[in-house]
């Protein structure tokens, strides 16, 4: 692991020698990364550098070939994705995914954090839940679409919906894969502020993003991937100067 990690910070999520390869391609290559608890962590890197695959391995969407993932001290390697989610890690998808034939509201009511028989058999549309849902819709700014069918939303609107859905599961750590992709700039600003607020409320973020302004203005700590392994990490300001990063990612 390169660039000395900041000293004495509780690590929220830590991977050791995490590896995943598909046939010839090694998507994630012995990646040892630690993300800082209670901070907004950035994860950047050129296309195909393994960010999404890294996300997938961590959240159990796919099983890593080797290496381990620890969340807040306990090992979650190869846990099924729903288990990871209930452990408090929420994630969004790069090609945003919503439940097309459910209304925006129903989309939000899906998230499960504590699947006890009681909560499960409790009526889904009890006011309390709905109120929470409306709250999040308001905060991402699409509450006027509450009754629209998700498939009829524009791409950006779907991205926001997905974000709200993740937040409904009230995760402690939130992994966002290109939250700004296809979202209009003003809205990006809004998402950024939302992230900030939630972070102040104590949530940890891990954000994959190609939008440099957003990353630089938002993240406290940035990890740079190239060819499936971290090549640099540190404060945004340092990262921007790092020659390897310039070469591998930003170009020129």
């Amino acid at each position: 692991m390169s660039a000395q990690a900041p000293v004495a910070v509780a690590s929220s999520l830590e991977t050791v020698e995490l590896t995943k390869s598909f046939g010839g391609v090694t998507a994630v290559d012995h990646a040892s990364v630690r993300f800082v608890d209670g901070k907004v962590n950035g994860l950047i890197g050129p296309n195909g550098s393994g960010k999404t695959t890294f996300f997938n391995c961590v959240t159990g969407m796919i099983k890593p070939d080797a290496g381990s993932v620890a969340y807040r001290g306990n090992d979650i390697t190869r846990h099924a994705s729903d288990r990871v989610a209930r452990a408090g890690i929420g994630r969004s998808f790069q090609l945003c995914r919503v439940f097309p034939r459910m209304t925006v509201m129903e989309n939000l009511l899906v998230a499960v954090r504590h699947p006890s028989l009681r909560t499960l058999l409790r009526s889904a549309d009890d006011e309390h839940e709905r109120e929470r849902a409306r709250h999040w819709l308001r905060r991402v700014g699409i509450d006027h679409l509450e009754q629209a069918e998700a498939r009829n939303l524009s791409y950006g609107q779907q991205k926001l919906l997905e974000l709200a859905g993740v937040l409904m599961g009230d995760p402690d750590t939130i992994m966002l894969d290109e939250p700004a992709g296809g979202v209009n700039p003003a809205l990006i600003g809004r998402i950024a502020t939302l992230v900030r607020e939630l972070n102040d409320e104590g949530k940890t973020f891990i954000i994959v993003e190609h939008n440099m302004e957003m990353v630089m203005s938002l993240c406290d700590h940035v990890v740079v991937f190239d060819r499936g392994r971290p090549i640099a990490e540190g404060a945004p300001s340092d990262i921007q100067k790092d020659p390897r990063v310039l070469e591998a990612y930003l170009g020129v």
Partner: protein
Amino acid sequence: MASESKYLLELNDIEAGYGRAALVLRGLTVQVPPATVVCLVGPNGAGKSTVLKVASGMLAPRSGSIVVDGVDVTGTNSQHMLKHGLAHVLQGHSVFREMTVAENVLLGAFTIKDQKAIDERVAFVQNLFPIVGERWKQLAGLLSGGQQKQVEFARSLMVSPKVVLLDEPSMGLDPKTTAKVFEQVARMRDAGTAVLLVEQNARRALETADIGCVLDLGRVHISGPAPELLADPALGDLYLGGRPADSAHVGGSTAEPATKGR
């Protein structure tokens, strides 16, 4: 009659919408001269993609006309648009997931018979986007998000139409590749192509574009030379994303267009 028309693509007060739902485009007019990049910006759900869908015949307008290089193509099925010289790169992901990169790229040249021309093109896109060459025989669906976008863009480069519609070509691309894409857009323009570009990365897009159109409420809201739009502060805050610093005082105002809706 094709000759004397001074636009390659004309959308004349288009009204369009989905199903029995309310209109999305309400009397929108966009014209793209040859060798020009017109950039559409606007909030999510403003109807940018819809404009392109209408232009390429994927969505039939309720009223208004579409003219490509002087030929009225209103109501033409999208599969014939390429014949009329219009290509459209979709938003989101439209690679053929279960076909190899090769098949994807070659399908881009589906309408071309001349094998030699195809080979040249292939060589060209392969060195423009190395990934295309590297993964030539791999299933496109297995590529990363950004890589897929590259394959899509490469696919669209297999033909050289008169009019190109690009729906957020830079989405999910890393800065380096983004630069390349915009470079290509510039090249197309220089080759005389009329490009209608939709971008959320508006500042970056307007730097390349000649003309900018701000789309809101399904109408062209403001349009003008790209540099001017870039310069306009209010606009910047509204649509191009201001620096967080400004946010506080813009907050109220920006709520306005939304309220216009109701």
